[in-house]
């Protein structure tokens, strides 16, 4: 026995909302009805209630691009071309086409085969929110590709929700001809989101066969020690020397799209399209800087000690000890802030130990043991181990251990000390 919906109930709610919005009920002074609905209605989140329909400007009238059609329907495609001679900040677009496919192997530790740059696709999405979940939609997907004469960005755009299926199908078809996907934070954000969209549209997911390089990870390796942020626009300015003017703050993007949907005034999309194109061009140029550094660290054109250190640490994790050692040396030589310097010294010492160069390891650990730093205890412990096992100098080993214990007591150190003391007593007894 359901009360038939609810026409009059909805009408009542409408009246209530109008009254709240009309200002006759002052939400601050008193009665905001304590409901979710009314709270939302009384705030700014529902600004559209009862407004007139403004004049319409369709996308195809005001934006570069054309309406495309496939078996799923229509969508909008816009293209931008950057000729090779053009520069993006300090970076010359022509350099992109010259990137050797083999370089992909460096940063991916051999995970990505050497595909020619013409097979790469740089991808970035603009979405209706950051909340995630099935209700967040990628309404604009930009894909950049390297061509002989320069760099081309294609913007796949849905002019409305009913164009999503056609847009996704067109994107999938385009990606068929590419082998490598390059994104910025795409492993966490863009790709899972698109996966959801393809699933909702009941379409096969085109990313499965692509090799995915998420440049964010490499960029963090390289620049995290030096940069306060590894946001794309920050690196764009710091690394490429390009200053974006009048850019749209990311959090306003959904709002711009919704405004466009409501008003049909496509000129509202201009800054949005521009934002996406810029992100993709920057992504490509940063790729042109990050890839060679990882592909051939020895000749990497790095000007900052911290960048070298970042790369050295990446090499060390990949067991490339010789290359790493060399880069640590360059980083230390080029001058580092204290914290990074001590870290570099310690990690280099460990590489030396691994490669059997004990004298170098000893020298560095002795340096670290002399001054106050985060690695002092560990260095003393290394020295103690060395004296005990290699030089058989138990007194010296005990001295190092005792010194470390002085700085920061721990059960392990105490255990080591006791063992050394026992050993010494036994030796003294034997000698007696």
């Amino acid at each position: 026995m359901v009360k038939p919906i609810l026409k009059q109930d909805l009408e009542r709610l409408r009246r209530q909302i109008r009254r709240v919005k009309g200002g006759r009920m002052d939400p601050g002074a008193a009665p905001v009805p304590p409901s979710v609905e009314n709270r939302q209605f009384s705030s700014d989140s529902l600004p559209y209630f009862q407004q007139e329909q403004p004049e319409r400007y369709d996308a195809e009238q005001v934006l570069d691009g054309e309406v495309m059609e496939n078996q799923w329907g229509r969508y909008f495609l816009s293209e931008r071309f950057y000729p090779g001679h053009q520069r993006h900040g300090d970076f010359e677009i022509a350099k992109l086409a010259a990137l050797p496919g083999e370089w992909l192997g460096g940063i991916s530790r051999g995970g990505i085969p050497p595909y020619d740059p013409s097979r790469w696709a740089f991808l970035d999405t603009e979405t209706t929110g950051l909340a995630g979940g099935t209700g967040t939609c990628a309404f604009l997907v930009g894909v950049g590709t390297i061509e002989d004469g320069g760099f081309r960005v294609r913007l796949f755009f849905m002019r409305d929700y009913d164009e999503e299926a056609a847009m996704l199908a067109a994107l999938a078809e385009f990606l068929q001809w590419r082998d490598v996907l390059i994104t910025y934070n795409g492993k966490t954000y863009d790709v899972p989101l698109l996966e959801t969209r393809y699933r909702l549209a009941r379409k096969p997911f085109p990313f499965g066969r692509l090799h995915h390089l998420d440049l964010l990870h490499g960029a963090r390796q390289l620049w995290k020690l030096r940069m306060e942020s590894c946001k794309l626009t920050h690196l764009e300015y710091e690394v490429l020397g390009f200053l974006r003017e009048g850019d749209l703050p990311g959090e306003l993007i959904p709002y711009y799209y919704f405004e466009y949907l409501r008003t049909r005034q496509a000129f509202r999309l201009v800054p949005l399209f521009h934002h996406n194109v810029m992100d993709i061009v920057t992504l490509a140029c940063l790729t042109g800087i990050v890839l060679p550094a990882f592909a051939s660290p020895a000749d990497a054109d790095l000007r900052h000690g911290e960048d070298m250190l970042g790369l050295a640490r990446w090499l060390r994790r990949g067991q490339a000890h010789d290359d790493a050692g060399e880069l640590y040396r360059r980083a230390i030589d080029s001058g580092l802030p204290d914290e990074s310097l001590f870290r570099a010294l310690w990690e280099k010492a460990m590489i030396e130990k691994r490669c059997g160069r004990r004298d170098r390891m000893l020298a560095m650990c002795s340096d670290l043991a002399d001054v106050r730093n985060d690695y002092r205890i560990a260095a003393l412990e290394e020295l103690a181990k060395h004296f005990e096992h290699h030089e058989k100098d138990l007194d010296q080993a005990l001295r190092c251990t005792a010194q470390a214990l002085d700085y920061k007591p721990s059960p392990e150190l105490r255990h080591r000390k006791n063992r050394l003391v026992r050993k010494l007593t036994r030796r003294d007894e034997n000698q007696r």
Partner: protein, 767 residues
């Protein structure tokens, strides 16, 4: 052994006591032990499952387990109404595990109302699974699940144990990540079904509408297996929640030890004012004596406040006796999961001797077998009372439950009419999934999950009008042939399943460094967090220094004082629309839509232990407006004027008193908390003129209403007769808190006038 004998002695003592004249024991009920009714395991049960069950001593099924198996096997949705400890989990684990041993891709979703329950059930399930030596993977998935484990659970789980809140915010809005699970979903188990009533149930009904929508999308059509405590209408409730046909399992073959249940009414200390000894103090006294005799005791209190007070009292008592204060623990919703696990464990191991709990422990968490249960105050419903009593003595042994009545009218009615409780069927659980606000919230969530197609229905509702409405608000957008979610927000986050509004206040302790100590929902905040209120948290007292309505914050400071506070409110009702009305003797009854304006205008300070009024204060809190439904009685002026021997003030107080009685009995009939019903009297008792006949309203105390008014309208006869019974049998002279309200508040003639009114409205039975 020692415990058993001392429990027997205690029962004997109570038996003797009950025979004395004027005994506070108003009823002693005994249920003899019952034998099990066992049937052979069905032949279809797979060999590994059979041997696992055998290893745990299960070679046969109880009759109700077999009935459930057969119906589920025929593809029927079932609801299994069973008391505590009757083997209900096997009713669902058996078909699910058997399906899994036939098809390892099968998936099942288990829903429990709380995280603690999922945890508990997982343990039981795991031990069955590991016995089977199969690759079945069962996991809990809730707010406590670590982020890094979630992906693998989504990809691998066969059985997911979760709660409605997590399904609502964490699973459905991300259903594409659960595609495999939904594609293979064959069973949905809903345990503790009776919890899903009132507001919570109304939300959960809508949640299931969303769940079924998602299952449709993935092409699965799961069966629902519901388990419920004893309520009057399990089948109806299950049917309303899942909106599919359901069969009810009617047999119960589980064995039961001998049980005693006694009602205790604290003696009257002031007959004129109808004041009885404090039920809290009496609870403490009785619980302490059980404690001293070595019986592990579970004390239930009905509010957070009472829980905290009793923990304090019992710890004091334990300390005075030989027991360490740690042997008495509190257990309620606000405690951290780890704390709760620890308490449950200590209770099972016997380290903790007494636990004071709110209804958090009412549900089937396995705390082992307890000897005695003491309820401080009537839990509000027959079903819930039996559920709590069921925590004493599980299958074999003797057990005792004791209900200590407070002076609340409902409590007094129950202890003075034990047959009402022991003979009557338990209550009906009501839900209203069609509450407009609740419905709209879930339509938003549904649109977020999948675009809403033109012509689609949501439950029984066509969606067009709702979507247009949300479209006007800019939340949905129509394109092609469907409505799409066009907001960057995540709607499930804004909807709490446990209340109509999700608005809440945070409590900030500013005794030292500011520190958030709790969250309080909007309505409770207005009545507990006003400035100068005493707020109780973890047994500690806080004085509210500042109440920031706009920022939804209350700033409190830790204090030591000997009183607590109680809010006073003022309510106005305006009738918007009448749905139905009928004459009722000289008066009229009707129900329909109303607008309620309510304001907290002051508070009282009441002393601990005696509840003596030691002061009051004025408040000017923001007025609250709410649209809801109300049952109402209209009293024509002519009718009122015929009572020439009363002044209009006396007539008014008679109506106020009548309202209080009706609320008590109404909540009894509706299986709701008395606080879920509001009472108000229109002005105009003393005025004349046809347009302002005085009215009495019993309104649904939730914005939009949760379906409580229409049943009251239909049950008016029972409502009025039971109210008269309550008034007539109340031993007070002229009104007390147990019937029309305390003398000081309603006036001297209230009881008399209310009785006269009721006599006119309900012709005497034998006349």
């Amino acid at each position: 052994m020692r415990q058993d004998r001392s429990l027997e002695t205690a029962v004997e003592r109570i038996e003797d006591w009950s025979k004395q004249p004027g005994s506070p024991i108003t009823a002693l009920w005994r249920k003899p032990a019952r034998e099990a009714d066992c049937r052979p395991l069905p032949a279809e049960v797979s060999a590994p499952l059979r041997s696992t069950l055998a290893a745990r001593g299960i070679r046969q099924l109880y009759s109700h387990q077999l009935e459930a198996w057969e119906k589920i096997d025929r593809g029927e949705n079932v609801v299994i109404p069973t008391p505590t400890a009757s083997g209900k989990t096997l009713c669902y684990n058996l078909p699910v595990l058997n399906a899994l041993s036939e098809d390892p891709e099968t998936c099942a979703l288990y829903l429990f109302p709380t995280k603690a329950l999922s945890e508990d059930q997982l343990d039981e399930l795991q031990s069955l699974i590991s016995g089977m030596g199969s690759g079945i993977r069962a996991f809990t998935y809730d707010g406590d699940t670590p982020q890094d484990a979630r992906k693998s659970i989504r990809q691998r789980a066969n059985i997911v144990l979760t709660n409605p809140d997590m399904l609502h915010t964490g699973v459905l809005p991300h259903h594409t990540k659960w595609a495999r699970f939904f594609e293979h979903l064959r069973y949905i188990v809903i345990d503790e079904l009776h919890i899903y009533r009132g507001v919570f149930g109304s939300h959960v009904g809508n949640l299931f509408r969303r769940l079924k929508r998602i299952c449709d999308f993935y092409g699965s059509k799961p069966l629902f297996i519901c388990c419920s405590a004893t309520i009057a209408n399990p089948k109806e409730l299950a049917g309303k929640l899942i909106e599919q046909p359901v069969s009810e399992i009617e047999s119960n073959g589980a064995p039961q030890g001998e049980r005693f249940f006694a009602f205790y009414n604290p003696p009257v200390v002031n007959r004129q004012l109808g004041i009885r000894r404090s039920y809290i103090a009496e609870t403490r006294r009785l619980a302490s004596s059980f404690l001293e005799n070595g019986q592990q005791t579970l004390v239930f209190a009905n509010s957070r406040l009472a829980t905290e007070i009793l923990v304090r009292y019992l710890k004091d008592a334990a300390e005075r006796g030989a027991l360490p204060p740690e042997s008495v623990r509190g257990y309620r919703g606000g405690y951290l999961p780890r704390e709760r696990r620890e308490i449950e464990k200590q209770l099972r191991e016997g380290e903790v001797r007494a636990v004071v709990a709110t209804n958090a422990l009412e549900l089937g968490i396995d705390v082992g077998s307890l000897d005695t249960v003491v309820m401080a105050g009537y839990p509000g419903t027959i079903a819930s009372t039996w559920q709590r009593a069921g925590r004493a003595g599980r299958r074999q042994s003797l057990s005792l439950s004791l209900l200590v009545a407070s002076s609340a009218p409902l409590d007094q009615f129950i202890v003075q009419h034990p047959s009402y409780f022991f003979d009557a069927s338990p209550e009906h659980a009501q839900i209203n999934p069609d509450n407009l606000e609740v419905l709209i919230s879930h339509v938003k969530c549904a649109a977020f999950e999948l675009p809403i197609q033109d012509g689609e229905t949501f439950g029984p509702h066509p969606t067009a009008g709702l979507c247009e409405f949300l479209g006007e608000a800019g939340l949905l957008h129509h394109a092609g042939n469907s409505w799409h979610w066009t907001s960057e927000s995540y709607p499930a986050d804004a909807v709490s399943l446990r209340t109509v509004t999700s608005d809440n206040f945070v409590v900030v302790d500013i005794t030292g460094e500011p520190n958030v100590i709790g969250e309080v929902d909007f309505n409770s905040a207005l009545t507990t967090l006003y400035e100068k209120a005493i707020y109780l948290h973890e047994g500690r007292l806080f004085h509210v220094e500042r109440f920031d309505y706009k920022e939804r914050k209350a700033y409190v400071k830790n204090v030591e004082c000997n009183y607590y506070t109680d809010a006073i409110d003022y309510t106005q009702v305006k009738v918007i629309e009448t749905f139905e009305s009928e004459p009722l003797g000289p008066a009229a009854r009707s129900y329909g839509e109303v607008r309620i304006n309510r304001q907290i205008v002051g508070f009282k300070k009441l002393k601990f232990y005696t509840a003596e009024n030691v002061g009051a204060g004025k408040l000017s809190m923001p007025e609250q407006e709410m649209h809801t439904t109300a049952f109402r009685l209209t009293f024509p002026h002519a009718f009122l004027q015929s009572f020439t021997d009363y002044s209009s003030a006396e007539k008014r107080s008679g109506l106020v008193g009548l309202g209080n009685v009706l609320r008590t009995v109404g909540s009894l009939l509706l299986m709701c908390d008395p606080r879920d019903l509001g009472v108000a009297i229109s002005s105009g008792v003393d005025r004349s003129g046809p347009e302002s006949d005085p009215e009495l309203y019993l309104y649904d105390n939730f914005s939009g209403g949760i379906g409580q008014s229409e049943p009251l309208y239909r049950m008016h006869d029972q409502l009025l007769r039971r109210s008269r019974d309550l008034l007539v049998s109340c031993p007070c002279e002229a009104g007390c808190p147990s019937c029309v309200g305390p003398l000081g508040e309603v006036g001297e003639k209230a009881k008399e006038v209310a009785c006269r009114f009721l006599n006119e409205l309900t012709p005497a039975r034998n006349a």
